[in-house]
Amino acid sequence: MVSFVMNANPNHIFRALADPTRRALFEELTRQGEQTVHALTRYAGVSQPAVSKHLTVLKRARLVRHRREGRETHYQAQPDALKPMVNWLDDYGAFWRERFDRLEDLLKRMEP
């Protein structure tokens, strides 16, 4: 059976990325690698509490992860979290080909 990769709650991902600021933050992290909350606040041009709130939503969707170092919190993108959504064609392609094989076997067994 296909490794049917589906995020446990895809809606979290969509909701997280439906907001333009969060999308921009995620893209920035993807482009630049790990960043501090301070750097991200400068980039986003909104208040730090607002950025932290956005980052929490991204974190819940497992799109980013963080680590603390002294007083700074560093964030890092987890682009793999998105792969299941983009790769559904591959996943389902394999799924349906396997199902077609099973259908073929069944048709052979069925009465004419």
Partner: protein, 162 residues
């Protein structure tokens, strides 16, 4: 003979003008050396479906809701929620295909369309799965343009990390 192709919705679903531009369509097709009648039974009769697709309470009646159920997987509870859309005996069958539905989430929705065409010595069977469904399109309408750009960039990016 079996082929699978992915293509943009714009090419295959030109009539679905409200489809999100991020929509993709998956097509798998094969010629079976059996008459359409036999394939139709395998596609629509619950006990037969159970033998090749999944356990189910499927009935080929438009508007009927059903579930396909298989063993839970690490990232999937093994349940597909569907609703029958089109039943044209021996020719066309379509239903929705939803996974990840829960109390807090609509999950992901697709539409599956089966088309049967008699050919010499058998039947050409075509499965077309298009995503995402109307529900999701409605959710993203406001951000459609952004999504398109985002997904375009995302595919490049994932190509780079793969």
């Amino acid at each position: 003979m079996s082929t699978a192709t992915g293509s943009t919705a714009a090419q295959n679903n030109a009539d679905q003008s409200n489809a999100a531009p991020t929509t993709r369509t998956l097509v798998v097709e094969r010629v079976f050396p059996h008459p359409p009648e036999k394939l139709w039974r395998a596609l629509t009769e619950s006990p037969l479906l159970a033998q090749w697709m999944m356990g189910n309470d499927f009935e080929p009646v438009p508007g009927r809701k059903f579930q396909f159920r298989t063993d839970p997987k690490p990232n999937w509870n093994g349940i597909v929620d569907g609703e029958v859309f089109v039943v044209e005996p021996l020719k066309r069958l379509s239903y929705s295909w939803g996974v990840g539905k829960s109390e807090s989430s609509a999950g992901l929705q697709w539409v599956v369309l089966w088309t049967l065409t008699p050919v010499e010595g058998g039947t050409h069977l075509r499965m077309e799965q298009s995503g995402f469904g109307p529900d999701q399109t409605a959710n993203y309408n406001g951000a459609r343009y952004g999504w398109k750009i985002f997904f375009d960039g995302l595919e490049r990016m994932l190509g780079a990390v793969a």
